[in-house]
Amino acid sequence: MTAIRFRQTVIRFLIHLTLAGGSAFMLVPFFWLLSSSLKAPHEIFVFPPKWIPDPVRWTNYREVFEVVAVVRYTTNTMTVTVFSTLGVILSSSMAAYSFARLRFKGRDIMFGLILSTVMLPYVVTMIPVYILFTRLGWIGTFLPLIVPDWFGGPITIFLLRQFFRTIPLELEDAARIDGASRPRIFAQIILPLSRSALTVVLVLSLLYNWNDFLAPLIYLHKRDMFTLALGLNALQHFESGLDWTHYVMVLATLMVLPVIVIYFLAQRAFVEGIVLTGLKG
């Protein structure tokens, strides 16, 4: 008996050790990023690694605004993120409602087609879509990053459809007997009852757009149109003759910080979203 208990204690200890060690490994880079953002440039790449900045250079956070158009990049990123998210939620929830609740000819074929594109590699569509936006004269604007989101996202549609199907039909029937139209049922019954699913979609879309690198890289070329991702990339390759590593770290910190805050605020939505869609890497 004691042998078994001893064994269990050892196993427990080993699990703790592994998970704690792993957690440290996961966290150290964040800590180092923050610490480097408060160092002088020549103190960043040193051996042995210096963990606590001395002195702490808070001025880095002021100076970065003079070196890089931080405000501009942030506004641009927010513009793209907000409008894309709005679009994907609106267009996908409409389609999801139709697929979940309305019966009509061709519904299952259309849903199947849309679902089949979930795993479509982005690279196959990339060039023709780029050409389409060239023809429209939209290169260099935010439109190529925003407009596609207003035409539904397959994963989002799938996720919302699954959720809408769990809403009791009686609620909808009651409203129909009272003479409510489909758009009204959608807006006043289905959407308000789906707050949790919509939060999941909201959070995933915010994260995706905030972090996106490839699409902005394809479509935005002028510096004053850059998103944070592009700005951070450009700053690393910018040859100023001076060591700007500390500013790179500040900008990276500023970009990562909101993501972490949202993650902690909406952790449950995150976890649900990843598990339900299961599609991100």
Binding site: G22, M94, V124, P128, G152, R182, F213, A229, V256, G278
Partner: protein, 324 residues
Amino acid sequence: MQSSPAQSTPAAQTERGLRFFQRLSFEETLFGWLFIVPAVLGLLFFRLGPVFASFYLSFTKYEIITAPQWIGFANYTKLIKDALWLRSIEVTLWYVVLFVPLSLTFAYAVALLMSRNVRGITTYRTLWYLPSVVPVVASATIWRWGLNPEFGPINYPLKVLGLPAPRWLTDPDWIVPSIVFIGLWGLGNSVLIFLASIVSVPRTFYEAAEVDGANGLARFRHVTLPLTSSIIFYQLIVTVINSFQVFGVAYVLFVSNPSASSAGPNNAALFYVLYMFRNAFGYFRNGYASAMAWILFLVVMLLTIFLFYSQRRWVYYETEGGGS
């Protein structure tokens, strides 16, 4: 007795009922289609349409300023002789071969550990997931330092112990492993998905196994593994598809602009999509790049079909009537 207008014959009632249903279904059809109009347009213009368009473009020479010019299989035959394209395949396959098994086993093992109810498990789960939300540009920035051979923390213990330390991002042989390493840091998504499937295995299965005298390893082999195999299969497909499309990390670490002619020493970071991107957006060889895109698409599709075919041998579905 005269029948009043209010009373109608059964036939009339049925007719009215039918008309009611027809109107209902018309109304449903109307709104059904109205609500999916944006999504269908999106499907046509941003997904299905482009797939066919890029197939067509792959047989043309198209440099945006002039109209596409039909050249048959020329792009494809040129690709076979393109040393850089072959290099990009080599780099990408090497990555896929390393990353897919490593990330799946690692994520599954971690998920198994996390499925145990030890104290503080929620904190562990939160922390392990954190790197997954970091933008790819930022994680590349972080690991440029982390994997720095002289000053980085990964080589630090090796150097202190006087062991040979790899030159990670500067040694051509270590570049792909470095990218794999960075990918493993952001493993949280897979862990989370595995974890959800492991904890949803019904307790009764384990109890039954225990009654039958199965030890820990046997319970894992005969209960956990088969009951989560459909998720393993799913994750395998997603990971394979994504691994073929590595782009961001390599671009930030090794490329400074779209037409840069190299990707790391000896082109060791020339991933498939990176080379395709260079051709499309650096040199505006859209036909050529489309041919590359379609080859990748075909490979990924065939692989997925192959995996689907093979799953019958090793994936367990409850509907087959084995378990309960």
